[in-house]
């Protein structure tokens, strides 16, 4: 079986001489695209694509496709997978449209969506999804296992399958989960690199270093697995895995030496002052914005030069690195051969396996005709408005800079402790075509809100709704409870004008939601205080209900009352001995007065409370006897 497959490979390659890369059964390509951005940033997009024929995939014969991921996909019957790890924020205003129209990036943290073979039931895809997130969590050292039913939604119009599923498409179900609180770092990059055939040891993947990648202003690691059935290769479908790392890094920041990362101010002679400011003088300086293109070297920006090349299954026309700079910018490349193409702004280089590749660009004044950046299809921002920890409101601003109206799909997946009031949903200056809404159930699922909107040309639309915040239980708060909870970013898909397939994606930033916190130091105190109040009430009511009233003199005195009375008498006797003569006189007066003299002192004792009930009783009895007698 294996031998026949191996023998068939060169045969098929011989047939496809000028075939495009993706249709070749077992193939692997990698590519790096470098584009300097305004404000001293550099956009680097690494793309690693491997394919395997579906027949080889199903018989577990893997060559360039990573086996660990394939086994997870086979076990959970996942037909198409998209996984994203993102940190930072892409600055739309300065850098223009997102790379690849936002199709290879995700929201802050981890975003995962997959088409799972449903088997026709409702619960089977959820079980398979749960297995998928747990297995991926182990593979990528990320806490993807926290994507449970409270964070999973089923988008309706937001995503379309990118692969060719043929007849199976009806049975597939789309599940989507986001973890905005996830911190993406080197432990996620290492398994990512291990999925590559060259495992980060040769080729452009050597440039990927955790120190530089996670120091970037924006970075996104993406893994996309999809089946592709090209028409050219006679109906054989291949399974393609595209791994991409897209980053926008700040050149001066990345060029800082790793062993001395402290930023130091430039020498005052090198700083250009803005002379138009009124306070400009010899000792006050407002620096001009730097518009010159800085000098940078690939090895300084990424830490080291690209070593070797990972060339497996390539044709002579393939190239590894593309640099997109104006044609008048001088570039010095070492260790690679340059391929010439008619395009004037792109330079292509092909790495060689035996040398390391380095690019260096000297500084150059701001160019006369700068590279045109594409206007993004939409500018989207979202904030939480309101004050206090009981309620708030969500406020999204969508701005259409183009001269034609836009139709877009806006999706939000909210946690269950953020309870939106849908009757307060307001859309200004736009039209709502459709609303898909799944309400939240406490501790079971979150809110799924999906809107299809139309925004007129060159206008701004505002979407607002009010919400209420829930109070959570003690154990549901994270250790840093006062930081707040992260709300997943909203995903916007701008539908293309012709309708149908494709579209560009724009994501807002994630939000921080502060919930009211109890006092975490007091569980025991709260329990005993509340129990005390309840016990007081219960005890008093129980006593009242189960005991009957009697007059105080009808009952024999309790021993406790007698003890207290004797103790009180003893104390009074002690005090009387100290005063001496007064006591004798008062005693004589008492003896003379008889009953009536006893009454006041006894009456005094009566006010001391119930314990002297017997004294009161005796006084009453004597009074009554006196009355009866008289």
């Amino acid at each position: 079986m294996h031998l026949s497959t191996l023998l068939s490979l060169p045969a098929s390659l011989a047939l496809l001489t000028l075939a495009t890369v993706y249709a070749s059964p077992h193939s692997y390509t990698e590519h790096l695209h470098l584009l300097p951005l305004p404000q001293s940033h550099l956009h680097a997009h690494f793309n690693f694509t491997a394919t395997t024929p579906l027949s080889a995939y199903e018989s577990s014969h893997f060559r360039y496709f990573p086996r660990s991921l394939a086994q997870i996909l086979q076990h959970t019957r996942t037909k198409e997978l998209h996984l994203r790890f993102t940190t930072g924020r892409w600055d739309d205003e300065s850098w223009g449209a997102r790379p690849l129209d936002g199709t290879r990036e995700g929201g802050t943290g981890v975003e995962l969506w997959a088409w799972v073979d449903g088997g026709g039931s409702k619960t089977v895809p959820e079980e398979r999804w749960s297995e998928l997130v747990n297995s991926l969590s182990g593979l990528f050292c990320a806490s993807l296992n926290f994507i449970d039913s409270t964070k999973t939604v089923r988008p309706v119009r937001l995503f379309e399958p990118e692969g060719d599923h043929g007849s199976e498409k009806g049975g597939l179900q789309l599940l989507h989960g986001m973890l905005p609180h996830e911190v993406v770092c080197t432990e996620n990059l290492t398994p990512f690199l291990k999925l590559l055939p060259c495992k980060g040891k040769a080729g452009i993947s050597t440039l990927l270093d955790g120190h530089k990648l996670f120091d970037a202003t924006w970075q996104s690691m993406a893994i996309d697995v999809r089946p592709v059935c090209g028409a050219a290769d006679g109906g054989e479908c291949v399974l393609e895995i595209q791994q991409s790392v897209s980053m926008a890094l700040s050149i001066p920041r990345s060029m800082r030496d790793r062993h001395d990362p402290i930023p130091r101010p430039a020498k005052i002679e090198d700083v250009q002052c803005d002379e138009s400011k009124p306070w400009n003088g010899h000792d006050t300086c407002f620096p001009n914005a730097v518009t010159d293109e800085p000098a940078w070297t690939l090895s300084k920006v990424f830490g080291h030069a690209a070593k070797g090349a990972c060339d497996l299954e390539r044709n002579d026309q393939a190239f590894d690195v593309t640099l997109e700079v104006p044609s008048d910018r001088p570039v010095n490349a070492t260790g690679a051969s340059e391929l010439t193409f008619p395009s004037t702004t792109r330079r292509h280089y092909r790495l060689s396996a035996s040398s390391s590749f380095d690019l260096s660009l000297p500084a150059c004044p701001s160019p006369v005709n700068p590279m045109a950046l594409f206007t993004p299809p939409l500018y989207a921002t979202r904030q939480i408005a309101g004050h206090g920890q009981e309620r708030g409101s969500m406020h999204t601003t969508l701005r259409n800079p183009h001269a034609h109206p836009l139709t877009l799909v806006y999706m939000e997946s909210l946690p269950w402790y953020l309870r939106p009031y849908m009757h307060t949903l307001r859309l200004s200056n736009g039209k709502q075509e459709k609303l898909y809404y799944t309400p939240a159930l406490d501790r079971e699922r979150g809110t799924h809100l999906e809107l299809v909107l139309t925004i007129p040309a060159q206008s701004t639309t505002t979407l607002t709704y009010d919400f209420e915040k829930a109070v959570l239980r003690y154990t549901e708060y994270p250790p840093d409870a006062n930081r707040g909870f992260d709300v997943a970013p909203a995903v916007v898909r701008v539908l293309s004008e012709h309708g149908g397939f494709g579209g560009s994606y724009v994501r807002t930033t994630s939000l921080l939601l502060s919930l009211p916190t109890p006092d975490f130091s007091m569980p025991y105190n709260v329990i005993i205080l509340t129990s005390t109040v309840i016990a007081l009430g219960f005890g008093s009511l129980f006593n009242l209900l189960t005991r009957s009233f009697v007059l105080a003199e009808e009952v024999p005195p309790s021993p406790l009352a007698g003890i207290i009375r004797r103790a009180r008498d003893a104390v009074k006797g002690l005090l009387g001995k100290k005063t001496g003569g007064d006591e004798k006189e008062s005693k004589a007066a008492d003896a003379q007065a008889g009953e009536t003299a006893e009454a006041p002192s006894l009456a005094k004792e009566r006010t001391d409370g119930k314990a002297n009930g017997i004294a009161n009783g005796h006084a009453d009895l004597r009074e009554r006897k006196a009355r009866v007698v008289t």
Partner: protein, 300 residues
């Protein structure tokens, strides 16, 4: 007024509860059971008033069947000594009352089922009242307790709290057999203090119902702690909203401030409740032993 300030939806429940009490005092047991069933359908706890209101209705039926020569009339309206043989049968009365209650409740639930797609509303509406999943701060005792409770002990303490609250209904009826209206009012007080989603409206409704027992307050020996309790109530009703605002909006207070205020509020209500029960029982005893009026008593 407290109900109007608090704006809870229990205003409807309170309305139907009071309607039920009123019809019971008039001896109309069917309408009383009907109103009580509506109140229970809206919030679950008026079910606890079933024994006291049933007792009240039975007593009124007994009274209404007494011969005309009974002269006890206006002086002690709650007291009677019915030894007539034409007293309505307890079993007959009981089945009619409870049957009417259950029938109305079933009718309302069936109506809800007709309007809604499935029976899933039953756990959503009634199980949430029993299991207390939502812990929004309210002037009750339950919310902070169950916020700070660890998960393994949650069901145990839920059971304890509910058992405690349920255990007052029948004893009040047995003890205040001769004054069922007092049993009803005391039971209203118990639910106002101890129910999971307590609110100011129910407490206000109960405090106004205390006027039904005003005859017991005339004797000065009966109530012991009125001034402290009312003062504390006033004090906490002013501090409660202040601390709530301080915790949630100003951010300078803690949850403990508001929690302490709710503890003191409930303590004041409890003092008023025990005082009322004491005064009712004392009044009953003094009516039997007139020489004990104003005297010190002990309980054994």
């Amino acid at each position: 007024m407290a109900t109007a300030l608090g704006r809870p939806t229990t205003a409807f429940t309170t309305f139907f509860t009071l309607l039920s009490i009123r019809h019971a005092t008039e001896g109309k047991l069917q309408t009383s059971a009907f109103a009580l069933a509506i109140a229970s359908y809206l919030s679950l706890h008026p079910t606890l008033l079933l024994p006291p209101i049933g007792l009240l209705g039975y007593d009124q039926l007994c009274k209404s069947r007494k011969p005309v020569n009974d002269t006890d009339g206006p002086k002690s309206p709650m007291r009677y000594a019915s030894t007539q043989t034409d007293r309505p049968k307890v079993l007959d009365f009981g089945t009619r009352f409870f049957g009417c209650f259950l029938l109305t409740a079933a009718l309302l639930l069936a109506l809800s089922r007709v309007l809604l797609p499935s029976f899933a509303f039953l756990p959503s509406v009634y199980l949430t009242l029993l299991r207390v999943p939502d812990l929004t701060p309210n002037p009750g005792l339950w919310w902070y307790f169950f916020i700070e409770m660890f998960d393994p002990f949650r069901s145990f303490f839920l059971g304890v709290f509910w058992l405690h609250m349920l255990s007052y209904s029948v004893p009040f009826c047995l003890r205040m057999r001769k004054q069922p209206l007092a049993a009803v009012v005391s039971m209203l007080g118990i639910t106002a203090i101890f129910q999971p989603y307590a609110n100011v409206g129910e407490a206000g409704a109960w405090l106004s119902c205390l006027t039904l027992l005003s005859h017991t307050f005339e004797v000065s020996s009966t109530h012991r702690y009125t001034f402290p309790a009312v003062a504390v109530l006033l004090y906490t009703s002013l501090l409660g909203p202040a601390f709530h605002h301080l915790w949630l909006y100003a951010g300078s207070g803690n949850a403990n401030f508001f929690y302490a205020t709710t503890l003191v509020w409930n303590l004041a209500l409890l003092i008023i409740l025990t005082d009322t029960v004491y005064s009712v029982l004392r009044d009953e005893w003094e009516a039997e032993r007139p020489e004990g009026k104003g005297k010190d008593v002990r309980q054994i």
